[in-house]
C-alpha cells in the first residue's frame, strides 16, 4: 500500500536472549484505525515499544512518513509525530491534570494553538476540566486513561499508538472510551494503531486488523472480514457455533497453525 503512513517491515525484537517478535510487518494507513489483537505475551506491547523507540529491533525497518525511525531515541521519534498512550496509563502522579496536559504539548511552542487544544480535549473529556487542578494520582483509573489519551493528543500527533486502553476498566467505561476513540478518528481524522486484548470492541472500532500469536502475525484482514472468520469468532470472541450434530466437536483446532 502506498498511502501507508507507518510501515513496519520484518522487525525482530529481543528481550535479552528471548525473541519477543519474530519478523512482523504491518501497515497503518492515513486516517484509519489499525488494530493488533493477541493474547498475553503475544508481543503486542513490544511492537508499539519498538515503533516508538523505547526498544530497538535487531532487524527490520520501521518507516514513518517516508523516513526510517528504528533505533532512534524515543523523544526524537515523538517529535516526528508519533504519540504513544502507554499501557497502564503512566500519568505523572504528582503533577496536576493541567500540567500533565501541558507536558503532552512539551514539544510545541505555539501557545495559542495549545490553549485551543486544551479546550478541544476538554470538550471530548469534560471530566478533565473539572479536575484540572487535582494531582493526576488522585484520579480514578478511567479518568487517568482519559488523561493519558488527552495528553497524547496534546502533541498534535500524526499517529497515535494506543496500548490497551481498556486495561482494568469497567465494561461501561471501556465502551465510553472506545466511542471517543472512534469519534477522534472520524472527527479529527486521527490515525491510530490500537493494541488490544478485548477483541470484540477492538474489531468493532478499527478498520483493519492483525492477529498476533507468539510474536508472529497469523492473520490480517479488514475488521469486517475478520469478524466473519470462524477462528476469530471462536477463539477471540467466544462465540460458539453449534454443529449439525448438536454438540461441539471435541477437537477443534485453529486453522492457521
Amino acid at each position: 500500500m502506498s498511502d501507508a503512513i507507518l510501515k513496519v517491515r520484518n522487525i525482530e525484537t529481543y528481550y535479552g536472549p528471548i525473541m519477543a517478535i519474530r519478523g512482523i510487518s504491518l501497515d497503518v494507513r492515513d486516517g484509519q484505525i489499525a488494530t493488533v489483537l493477541g493474547a498475553n505475551g503475544a508481543g503486542k506491547t513490544t511492537i508499539l515499544k519498538t515503533i516508538s523507540g523505547i526498544m530497538d529491533p535487531q532487524k527490520g525497518i520501521v518507516e514513518f512518513d517516508g523516513q526510517e525511525i528504528q533505533k532512534r531515541d524515543p523523544d526524537w521519534v515523538m517529535r516526528q509525530g508519533i504519540s504513544h498512550v502507554p499501557e497502564g496509563r503512566e500519568v505523572f502522579p504528582f503533577l496536576t491534570v493541567q500540567d500533565n496536559l501541558m507536558m503532552g504539548a512539551y514539544t510545541r511552542k505555539d501557545r495559542d494553538a495549545i490553549a485551543k487544544d486544551v479546550e478541544l480535549v476538554h470538550s471530548y473529556f469534560p471530566i478533565l476540566k473539572e479536575r484540572a487542578e487535582q494531582p493526576a494520582g488522585q484520579l480514578s483509573g478511567g479518568e487517568q486513561q482519559m488523561l493519558s489519551i488527552s495528553r497524547a493528543l496534546m502533541a498534535r500527533p500524526k499517529l497515535m499508538l494506543l496500548d490497551e486502553p481498556s486495561l482494568g476498566l469497567s465494561p461501561r467505561l471501556v465502551k465510553e472510551i472506545f466511542t471517543i476513540i472512534k469519534r477522534l478518528n472520524v472527527e479529527q481524522g486521527m490515525t491510530m494503531l490500537l493494541v488490544e486484548q478485548n477483541a470484540n470492541i477492538a474489531l468493532h472500532t478499527a478498520d483493519f486488523g492483525y492477529v498476533l500469536e507468539v510474536g508472529r502475525i497469523v492473520m490480517e484482514d479488514t475488521t469486517d472480514n475478520l469478524l466473519q472468520k470462524e477462528d476469530i469468532r471462536e477463539f477471540y470472541l467466544g462465540i460458539q457455533d453449534h454443529g449439525v450434530r448438536g454438540k461441539r466437536r471435541w477437537k477443534k483446532r485453529k486453522t492457521w497453525r
Binding site: D73, D75, E90, F94, M102, M103, G137, G141
Partner: protein, 286 residues
C-alpha cells in the same frame, strides 16, 4: 542554624539528583569542595570581586555537574544501582585528589575574603532582648532562603522545571511525551552541582576551604534521610534540624557528642520513621 542551612543545601543537591535520576550521589560533598575552590581561584587568586567570583564559580559548577553526568554516568546508565553508586564515590575520590594536584590549590587550607564580617549584630533592639547573629551566619541563612525560593519557582512555574518533575515521576512517560530525558538529567546534575557550589562558598568563611571539606556531605546525608529522601522541602527542614541538634549537642552534651549527633538522629529516624518526615508514598492505580 547557619550550619544547618549548609546541610540543607547539600542535602538539597542529594535529593534533586536522587529524585530525578534515582542515583545517590556520594560525590555531592566533593562538588561542593570544587565549587568552593573555584570561588577561591576567582576571588583570592585572580582578585575578582566577591559577588562576581561567587557567581562565576556557581556558573562553572553548573557545567561541571552537566559534564559529570554526561561523561561518568551516562555510560553506566541501566547498570545495577550499586555500580552507579560506586561511580559517584569514585568520582568523589578523583575530584578530591585532583583538587590537591591543581597548582595554587594544593592540600593547604585557604580562606576567601568576604564582604561579611564575622562580628555579631543584634537582630532585635536591645530593649526587647538579646538576639545576636554574625553577619556571616545571616548571609548563609538569607542565601539559603533565596536559593530555595528560586528553585521552587523554577520547578513549579517554568516549562523545563515541570518537565524535570515529570521525568522524575515517570521516566518512561516523559520519554513518550518527547521530553529529552537524558538532557534533562544532565541539567539536574548541573543545578545540583551549582547548589553545592553555593553551599561551598557560603561555608567557606566558617570552616575554610580544603580538599577534604567534602566530608560535610556525609552529614548532609542524615539530613536528607530525616526529611524523607526524595522530598525537597524535607531536605531543607532536615538540614536545619540536623544543624540545630548538632549545635545544641555541642553545647549541652559532653564533647564528642557533637559529631555523632547527626548519625544518632539518622539511626533513630530509620528505626522510627523510615520514610522520613516528608516522605511521599506513591500508590499506583491499575
Amino acid at each position: 542554624m547557619s550550619i544547618g542551612c549548609i546541610y540543607a543545601l547539600v542535602a538539597l543537591g542529594f535529593v534533586l539528583i536522587y529524585k530525578a535520576t534515582e542515583v545517590v550521589n556520594f560525590a555531592q560533598g566533593e562538588l561542593m569542595m570544587l565549587g568552593a575552590f573555584l570561588a577561591y581561584t576567582f576571588i583570592s587568586i585572580l582578585g575578582w570581586n566577591y559577588w562576581a567570583g561567587a557567581a562565576a564559580a556557581i556558573f562553572c559548577m553548573f557545567f561541571v555537574g552537566n559534564f559529570v553526568d554526561r561523561i561518568f554516568l551516562r555510560p553506566v546508565l541501566g547498570q545495577p544501582q550499586f555500580s552507579i553508586v560506586m561511580v559517584t564515590i569514585g568520582f568523589g575520590y578523583m575530584a578530591r585528589s585532583a583538587a590537591g594536584m591543581v597548582p595554587g590549590w594544593g592540600t593547604e587550607t585557604y580562606a576567601i575574603s568576604t564582604p561579611f564580617s564575622s562580628e555579631g549584630m543584634s537582630l532585635v533592639p536591645e530593649s526587647v532582648g538579646s538576639l545576636v547573629i554574625s553577619q556571616t551566619d545571616l548571609s548563609v541563612i538569607i542565601a539559603t532562603i533565596i536559593l530555595c525560593a528560586v528553585l521552587y519557582a523554577f520547578f513549579t512555574h517554568t516549562r523545563l522545571g515541570v518537565a524535570m518533575q515529570a521525568s522524575s515521576q515517570n521516566q518512561l512517560a516523559a520519554y513518550y511525551m518527547g521530553i529529552p530525558v537524558k538532557a534533562v538529567f544532565s541539567m539536574i546534575w548541573g543545578i545540583s552541582a551549582a547548589v553545592a557550589a553555593a553551599a561551598g562558598i557560603l561555608l567557606a568563611p566558617t570552616t575554610l576551604i580544603d580538599t577534604s571539606m567534602g566530608f560535610i556531605g556525609l552529614k548532609a546525608f542524615p539530613a536528607a534521610v530525616l526529611g524523607g529522601f526524595g522530598s525537597i522541602p524535607g531536605a531543607v527542614v532536615g538540614g536545619l534540624i540536623i544543624g540545630i541538634i548538632e549545635t545544641l549537642a555541642g553545647f549541652y552534651l559532653p564533647p564528642g557528642f557533637k559529631n555523632v549527633a547527626a548519625y544518632v538522629v539518622l539511626l533513630v529516624v530509620l528505626v522510627v520513621r523510615p520514610q522520613g518526615l516528608f516522605g511521599q508514598k506513591t500508590g499506583k492505580r491499575v
